[in-house]
Point group: C2
């Protein structure tokens, strides 16, 4: 309890910095969207998994307790026995821990999906929160790129399931091995000795969307000065080698076999490159067999994906329609999901290589995309509000809502204070379709008044409604015994 | 990254102490149960709210940063700006913060439901976890006990919605004010001066279920020695006063009006008592009007509820059927939900009294109750497994699952390694209903083999199945073009 000195100070009613609340229709829209995505995951044979929010820092792996407070990027704290714990920062690291822990009891391959919040201890910014949702599907324990192909097909299905039209999205696939082949071809073949230069090349390539080919060329060569005058040192490649890399990121052709041909020309002589091209070829064949053509899924050598742990195919789902950005300029909506093959995450625990591939959907990004195209779903119909005209009749009003609820109609008695006007304002705020009124006079005559609030709202919004008003009066009287039927009829009218 | 000395040490693949993973059918059963409960909440007019997992310690309120590490009972950690943060330990404290923060933009009364994990930094034990789910519904901003009555009715509806039969549960209602009247009647009327003795009486009464009337009598008087020989000091009441308290906890009669009469006799002369009895009377009347009789909802003066913050009606949902405990003894399943009126939680932030009432369902308790009565729901049907007889035909197999998924059938190609036997074992482990087989011979003849795995399992389980076997062969051949229809027919047969 508070000491005496704190007695007078009130706590601030605020969510912590970088955290937000979700309510009502927005929350329902998210739930509806996630239900559709996970239904697709399920149809592809994935089973649900929920790991706890907290893992040991050791298991999360990115961070180790060699400093007093290892909370760089994660929310970390020490358990009573001094073990460092942290909130998960994604859903993949916990999956690796879970799989390593339960391997013997799981089918092989193990397909799981997971939905839930993750936490990042980062500086919050506009639209940038420290808790956000992810929605992942991973296949653990199989090396075949058929699993990668399936994941790409599934991603396309999931986007269509939530309401993104075919033609408004593209799943783009590349292969880290092809990039490794390119690095080998330009003399940076040793992952350890050439680590710095390889990293610089990868980062440069990853910026193609943002900087365009010329910007990437500068970053591959000497370096680039940005608009603010800041200089980023480049990878220092010779002009000839820059063009090999640019040939790679620009290897996208009109169809998969032409793209594959261009890649083969570039890196087919390197071992990693040949392997990577063969895998992409297999993926393209399998997707084609399932009917996923280049209008939905496409090989695209410009996809790199930031995460260091990918070891093979990488993929990204991009929404191709345009929206207006904060400055009112048109731009493509961009990436909403991505993933790839990671063969070493489980090995950290077991010492055995365990091939795995999977995708993560950025839930908030996808939700804001659906908002932009008007495809948010939410069953946000407010409750029927039974008004309180006479407090002594509270039992009668409760009986009415009990009847309505029993018939599956969302309903409540107004439990606040105030006159009919205030009660109507409440009903309006709730988005109610119907208000029920029964005062002394109605009770004596055995009737109720039903106010059509949806119609009322339309009438207020439209001009040319005199005729509609006459044809559909906004208030009707019904016998008390027909309350449920009359309310239903009015709600149906509102819905039509 | 790890320093050189850690390079050889592998992290332990274990969830932290007191945390667990949820997977497959169990997770689906929980989701199905929560969907049913929240559907009832919705029907009563409640809207969803999701607050973040993390709140400031100041807002959570039970703990204050006057020690270096205020993590007693909660998982707490310091933000970059030194603010103490903690994982929420329930869903009510965040609601109070949210309401205080957004009051002006919310309807009054504000009805919200919330579902999600909460965290307690406590010693874990068998079946006792440090992360668990709660499922709450609260009405904020109205003083009328009609809100309490509704919450009790809703609790009854929710229990029936998840499959608890009428007669197998009871929602019991009491009122803290009546207990306060009892305390006044025995000379402990001052909440501050008599705090210690009042606490001792409340704790004694709360143990009625566990210790029976004689045990409570001892705790109200001099004290009680338990089986282990430990002595608990009592409240030190005189014999006469002990009997007044026992009269209160034993005031349950056959019907509400008789119970109310008994309470009126005991505490009707005290102000708190009279007010409490009048409120219970109103609740009973309203519930009766809605058709919730004593077979579902009942006034019961023995309900106390531990939490100090309740200020009026308190209620508890109890499952009355018997289960076997760990020692094989029969006992009632007991409480699965509880709540009550708390008028001071929002006041902490705003300084203004804000009446509120609400209920919290213990999700794991209710889930294990449903397990005990065989009412767990889960759509745990495994996927149709298309086996891989010939790796060169992978594209054909992928085409088959694409057709099945397109028709809404859960399906996957086997992506592991191994012969048909191993693939059948995998299908079995996944709970698959049907396996599809197409080798060279079938491909040449344009057919597929379908194996009825559900039937196979039944055949293996039953003895007298020779006839069934003949009537329903466990494997049939179908034209490749009729794959979807044939699989559907086989799945339908399995379901029948």
């Amino acid at each position: 309890m508070a000491g005496p000195k704190q007695k007078t100070r009130r706590p601030k009613a605020e969510a912590p910095k970088g955290f937000r609340d979700w309510m009502g229709a927005e929350l329902e829209a998210r739930a509806a969207m996630l239900a559709r995505v996970t239904e697709v995951y399920r149809r592809y044979g994935f089973d649900p998994l929920e790991t706890p929010a907290i893992e040991t820092v050791e298991a999360l792996g990115k961070f180790l307790p060699d400093v007093d407070r290892p909370n760089e990027g994660v929310f970390a704290f020490q358990d009573d026995d001094e073990t460092w714990l942290a909130l998960r920062y994604d859903l993949t690291a916990p999956l690796a821990r879970f799989y390593a822990q339960n391997q013997l009891h799981l089918p092989t391959p193990y397909r799981r999906y997971a939905v839930g919040p993750v936490w990042r201890n980062e500086k919050p910014g506009p639209g940038r929160f420290r808790q956000f949702y992810q929605c992942d599907a991973d296949t653990v324990g199989t090396p075949t790129v058929a699993a990668d192909a399936e994941t790409c097909a599934m991603l396309a299905d999931a986007l269509e399931a939530v309401g993104v039209a075919r033609g408004d999205y593209l799943v783009r696939i590349n292969n880290r091995k092809v990039l490794n082949g390119v690095l080998e071809a330009i003399g940076l073949g040793d992952p350890e000795a050439d680590a710095a230069a390889r990293g610089a090349v990868s980062r440069a390539v990853d910026k193609l969307d943002r900087l365009g080919p010329d910007g990437v060329r500068l970053l591959l060569g000497e370096g680039r000065k940005d608009e603010s005058g800041d200089f980023t040192k480049g990878a220092g490649l010779s002009a000839e080698r820059v063009e090999i890399v640019m040939g790679f990121v620009g290897a996208l052709r009109d169809d998969a076999s032409a793209t594959l041909g261009a890649l083969r020309d570039l890196v087919g002589r390197t071992r990693a490159g040949a392997e990577g091209v063969a895998e992409l070829d297999e993926i393209a064949t399998l997707l084609d067999a399932q009917g996923y053509g280049p209008d939905r899924v496409r090989l695209d050598p410009s996809v790199v994906r930031g995460l260091g742990y990918y070891t093979g195919p990488v993929y990204e789902a991009e929404l191709t329609f345009e929206i207006l950005d904060d400055e009112g300029r048109k731009r493509q909506f961009g990436s909403v999901a991505g993933g790839g093959r990671y063969d070493d995450l489980v090995k950290r625990f077991t010492g055995q290589a365990t091939p795995a591939t999977g995708v993560s959907v950025g839930v908030d990004r996808l939700l804001s995309a659906l908002r932009a195209i008007g495809r948010l779903e939410a069953d946000s119909a407010g409750p029927v509000v039974v008004t309180v005209m006479d407090r002594a009749r509270m039992a009668d009003y409760q009986r009415m809502v009990a009847e309505l609820r029993g018939a599956g109609v969302r309903a409540e008695v107004f439990l606040g204070g105030g006159n009919l006007g205030k009660q109507m304002k409440y009903a309006d705020r709730r988005g109610s379709g119907v208000a029920v009124i029964m005062g002394e006079d109605e009770a004596a005559r055995g009737v109720v008044q039903l106010k059509d609030l949806a119609l009322g709202a339309r009438l207020a919004a439209e001009i040319e409604t005199n005729e509609a008003w006459k044809a559909q009066p906004a208030q009707i009287e019904a016998p008390r015994g027909e309350l449920v039927a009359a309310v239903r009829a009015m709600l149906a009218r509102a819905g039509g």
